[in-house]
């Protein structure tokens, strides 16, 4: 399996603070990479740099052999990278369908002519997408289909996460990144959600996923490979068992034991 995404020497500084420090990271095609580390270790910053929200202070990001280091979020998205956010960033006043279609933005016809003047063609176009979205939602939670045109703000936490994951996956990206998909949910809900994600991964496409998750159980079940970050540096990497056993990781999470 060759690496789909490679970061070399990635550094991100905010004023005096170094959030990422000369980081090397690779994600191989088709794997689920777990990204763990204590708070403030640079996981979120890494996501933001990878999706073009921040421009790195130094270093290089290669995706499928192409340099995407200084791309705008739009360009990077078009190459097939999608993401979710730590704090759910759904548009709460928009409907479920709207939110999913935002993820589908690059597939939509946006010219004035099509949208305003040729309404009949537009409606056909719309019905096509509506059915697709319904199909997707049905797989996650059938009851969401009937609530497709209700504001997302009315939904429960897990349904919101479902919508957000659908939004990230609707374009069938090659490389989705999921940020804390379980935040704000119970254990059972989390398990259910992860099963859904894994299911969508197994659904034939070979998705490469980077997963940030605080719930170690989720990491254990879902990932094939883990990277542990601390103070913007890679502490260690390997499979779940190996990483958990590493004393440096325990130290980073629990602090050094007093002699």
């Amino acid at each position: 399996m060759n690496p789909l995404l490679i970061c070399t020497g990635l550094t991100m500084r905010f004023g005096g603070l170094t959030a990422l420090d000369n980081l090397y990271l690779e994600a191989r095609e088709g794997e689920v990479l777990g990204l763990v580390g204590p708070n403030g270790s640079g996981k979120t910053t890494l996501f933001n740099v990878l999706t073009g929200i921040y421009r790195p202070s130094a270093g290089k990001i290669t995706f499928a052999g192409e340099n995407i280091t200084s791309g705008t979020p739009q360009e990077i998205h078009r190459r097939g990278i999608a993401r979710t956010f730590q704090r759910s960033r759904l548009c709460l006043d928009l409907s479920v369908f709207d939110n999913i279609m935002i993820g589908n933005h690059t597939a939509l016809r946006l010219d004035f002519f099509h949208n305003i003047l040729r309404r009949r063609a537009f409606c056909r176009d719309y019905e096509l997408w509506r059915d697709k979205a319904a199909e997707m939602l049905r797989a996650l939670n059938p009851s969401l289909v009937s609530r497709m045109f209700r504001p997302v703000g009315d939904l429960s936490m897990i349904d919101r996460r479902r919508v957000e994951n659908s939004r990230a996956l609707v374009r069938r990206p090659r490389h989705p990144r999921l940020h804390d998909p379980s935040a704000g949910m119970t254990h059972d809900e989390t398990r259910q959600l992860m099963d859904e994600i894994t299911a969508s991964r197994m659904g034939g496409d070979r998705l490469t996923v980077i997963l940030i998750e605080h719930e170690m159980e989720v990491i254990r079940r879902s990932t094939s490979h883990c990277v542990v970050l601390n103070f913007g540096r890679k502490l260690c990497e390997g499979d779940y068992a190996g990483v958990v056993a590493d004393p440096r990781v325990q130290e980073a999470y629990l602090g050094k034991e007093l002699e």
């Binding site: 905010f14 004023g15 979120t44 933001n48 929200i53 956010f85 704090r87």
Partner: protein
Amino acid sequence: MDLLLQYCLNGLMLGMMYALVAVGFTLFFGVLDVIVFSHGDTVMIGSFAGLATYWWLHSTYPGLPAGWAVLLVLLAAAATVALLGIIVADAMIVPLRKGPALNTLLATMMLGTVLRESIRLFFPDGSNPQTFPALLPGWSWRGGNLILRFDNLVLFCGGALIIFLVHMIINRTRLGMAIRAVAQDEEAARIMGVNFRFVVLATFALGSAVAAFAGVMNGMYYSEINFSVGLLLGAIGFSAAVIGGLGNIYGAILGGFIFAFLQTIGAVAIPFASAYKDVFAFGAVILIMAWRPTGLIAEPSSQRV
């Protein structure tokens, strides 16, 4: 040369006035992340409260020495306006924070109109310009075209003193610490035991009292006050606070002087049409915003993603 110096002096006086207004804007923004657009009209209320106090003093204690009169006028104006600020904050601004920022902005603009119209309709003869008494002795020193007036000097120093006091309150007192804490992270401050409501009300009282001073200063400087100054003064104070960088007191002061400077330059440097000076000043504000979208002294943006 003395002409140039005179322009500078005028500009400085104007700048001090704008700076005092802008400080209020920026204080409120720092604590609550809102723009209280009625602040310009608060200044106007301050000058009218000062005038009313003077009338009362003048009729009850005719022989009162001018020094006392100034002090009492200032205190009464500050107290009235601080009370107004507290009421506005408690009844309107805090409840409105839940909604979008636009609502607060619009609501305070409407509040400004309400204040303005109330003075016009309910202050005796309020629709006409009113004489503001000369409470300070009008000694002056002349050199060529330059005239340096004692009262202006006192007003300028008074303004500077007020700004210094605000600086001390913010940086050296417990209240100031609480204000800074709330400004930085409201939730954390609450958890650490800061009485949020008290801090907000105290900030509004402080900002409004500064506005009252600006109002009385405005009255004494121009010897005349009228109900309609609030809107433009508010717009200018807001501009000054924004070009300085919202939430930053020193930025607001800088912004105030910059705006006064722009107006003066506009009037002096475009000799054929000094009436264009406001066009020039506001045009410059737009350009500054295009160049520095978050103000000259910008806070690092800390948006969480």
